[in-house]
């Protein structure tokens, strides 16, 4: 039975993720649920589920770090840290040679440079608009009447492509509508969309520069087609965690652990 445990709670714009680790950093629970209207309540729900999963009582959790855009709403947190730091720390724990982290979430994308100890050296974050985020792809999937899994199919990016010139979600959507009207095959449109989102991310990557191994985190790392396009652009393999959505929560849990021992 674990004695001192630590939790990270990432209240993102789309998903709320909880990770519990023990004092030696071993992962005991991992939960992902959709962020509801009330971030605080969702966090509590996800936390309860994770305690259940790990078979722990709340008293055994010695510190909780909240992160994500709803980090301030987590009443039971003992500290808060931005998701930018957390993704850096989380990626470092999974892939210690990480020098660059690309986190593509639902509403934000970030590129983070970390040093050999996982400490942040530099970062950049997308501006207000949803271009270059998971939300962009969701809007397009809906328009194309495709599920996220179909949209993510790596086969789509192997064939022909079309140019999607607008990076703005609203304009890109109208481009998609007119492509559909011209009977353009959906695979080609998907291919074009994946490439357009990667171009958007790429401009952020180049503003920070590529250092060491590159780790992709956030829910969009589940999109295999996008991973392929990004690797093509990068000219090398990306580190893709098994569960990319919980990397922020994992980092938060490690920050909680570190803070407890300070």
């Amino acid at each position: 039975m674990a004695d001192n445990c630590f939790a990270g709670v990432d209240v993102g714009s789309l998903s709320t993720d909880v990770v519990i680790i023990n004092a030696s950093g071993k992962c005991l629970a991992e939960v992902v649920i959709a962020t509801g209207l009330n971030g605080g309540e969702t966090a509590q729900k996800a936390f309860d589920q994770s305690l259940n999963q790990a078979g722990l009582a709340q008293e055994q959790i010695k510190a909780v770090t909240a992160t994500g855009y709803g980090r301030a709403s987590v009443a039971f947190a003992t500290g808060k840290t931005t998701e930018i730091s957390c993704h850096g720390v989380g990626a470092h724990h999974l892939f210690p040679n990480t020098g660059t982290v690309i986190d593509i979430g639902g509403q934000d994308s970030k590129v983070i440079q970390v040093d050999e100890r996982g400490r942040m050296l530099d970062f950049t974050m997308n501006d207000k608009c949803a271009a270059g985020t998971g939300r962009f792809l969701e809007v397009m999937a809906h328009r194309l009447e495709l599920g996220l899994n179909e949209l993510s199919d790596p086969l789509n990016i192997k064939g022909e492509t079309v140019q999607i010139s607008s990076t703005c979600t609203v304009f890109a959507e109208s481009e998609v509508i007119s492509l559909l009207a011209k009977q353009t095959p959906r695979e080609q449109i998907v291919n074009g969309l994946q490439r357009s989102i990667v171009n958007r991310i790429w401009s952020m990557v180049t503003s920070i520069g590529i250092h060491g191994e590159v780790t992709l985190t956030g829910g969009v790392a589940n999109n295999q087609g996008l991973v392929l396009v990004l690797e093509e652009k990068l000219g090398k393999k990306l580190n893709v965690p098994e569960n990319p959505q919980t990397v922020g929560a994992l980092g938060a849990a490690h920050i909680a652990l570190r803070g407890y021992h300070k």
Binding site: Y69, T81, T82, E83, I84, D108, R119, M120, D127, K128
Partner: protein, 365 residues
């Protein structure tokens, strides 16, 4: 207590004060004072932008948009015309548009700022520009009273000197002012009469020693300080902006103290060429970086915050180079982009917090 801008200007106008609406940024304020004109600077008037958009491209900076929106409202507190200094192409175009196409009930003046380094020719040129501006003002407001100009220069010089003292005190943590309070003080100079501004600056208490040891010290660069909510958020995070490289701030004050004015025109010319390097005067980039580095080390800041106005061509042009060079020199920096909207976005909160987390980690090793 800093008088409320709107009320103050309204009161001044009711008292018969001549008030000229002045767009950013550099102009011979002393010359206007000598004609008994109070310059009321128009940087970022609040409110929605409604009518201005019809006249401007979407990719024009919000200062120009807000400036035009203000002019279109025909504010009663501007009664002596508008002055458009040649700060950038966008403002120069706006001057032409307002004068020739859109029209306003007020006269429109322009003042050209030489975009060249200091030398004998540019010095001569600036002197000529001052004299031309004097002539223009005389046709409307009567002959210049040289004694008044002399007095205006002396007053201006006192403001500059006091300002230098306060800047140094801020750096040494000797001012008990929050970030918003500090920049309210800086910006009060945009509309107060010089004698009122000097009184205000003199009222600020400089403590004998540091009032708090701020260990999160930033240098702020850009055109304007961020919105008050962002400044307060920095206070919440125990961040102090201890020095600025703002066009609306320190870039309008000479780097060193000038001698007491003897000949007003010579004095104003010297003053102009002693202003810190600035994107809007097309200063040499190496000079700008040198100036920033000097401020960084002298004020012992931990990092630099760039507040970049969206679509501001002169600043964006320099920004790339400044960022690249500062990063090479391992100076932590954060760039925020603003459209001059009120409040602070969740994303900017995250950016700022992450930046501070990064600084703290670097400081704690």
């Amino acid at each position: 207590m800093i008088p409320n801008r709107k009320k103050y200007l309204k009161q001044q106008a009711q008292n018969g004060q001549k008030i000229m609406g002045v767009l950013p940024a550099l102009y011979p304020r002393e010359l206007l004072w000598a004609f008994d004109i109070l310059p009321a600077e128009i940087w970022d008037p609040p409110g929605d932008i409604l009518r201005a958009n019809a006249h401007l491209q979407a990719t024009i900076c919000p200062i120009v948009k807000r400036g035009l929106e203000f002019i279109l409202k025909e504010s009663a507190s501007v009664n002596a015309g508008y002055l458009f200094p040649h700060t950038c192409d966008s403002l120069q175009n706006l001057a032409t548009q307002v004068k020739d196409l859109i029209g306003t009930s007020q006269p429109v003046y322009t003042f050209y700022n030489p975009k060249a380094q200091f030398n004998k020719t540019t010095r001569r040129y600036y002197l000529d520009l001052l004299q031309d501006f004097q002539t223009t003002l005389e046709t409307k407001f009567g002959p210049l009273n040289r004694a008044k100009l002399m007095a205006a220069c002396e007053l201006g010089s006192k403001i500059d000197i006091r300002w230098l003292t306060l800047q140094n005190a801020r750096r040494a943590d000797q001012l008990e002012l929050t970030n918003p309070e500090y920049f309210q003080l800086v910006r009060a100079g945009e509309y107060l009469k010089p004698e009122d501004y000097l009184t205000l600056l003199n009222q600020v208490e400089v403590q004998a020693g540091p009032v708090h040891q701020s260990n999160r010290r930033l240098l702020l660069s850009g055109i304007l300080p961020p919105h008050e909510e962002t400044l307060s958020f920095l206070d919440e995070l125990s961040v102090t902006i201890v020095a600025d490289d703002l066009l609306s701030g320190s870039r309008r004050f000479p780097i060193t103290q000038l001698d007491t004015p003897v000949d007003p025109f010579e004095y104003l010319t010297d003053r102009h060429f002693l202003l810190p390097p600035c994107s809007t005067r097309a200063s040499n980039l190496k000079e700008r970086i040198h100036h920033l580095q000097k401020m960084i080390s002298e004020s012992q800041v931990h990092g630099v915050l760039f507040n970049i106005i969206k679509f501001c061509e002169p600043e964006l042009f320099d920004h790339r180079f400044l960022v690249k060079t500062l990063k090479q020199n391992r100076v932590p920096l954060l760039s925020l982009e603003t459209e001059l909207l009120p409040g602070i976005s969740g994303q900017d909160r995250t950016r700022i917090e992450a930046f501070i987390e990064m600084l703290d980690e670097q400081v704690s090793g």
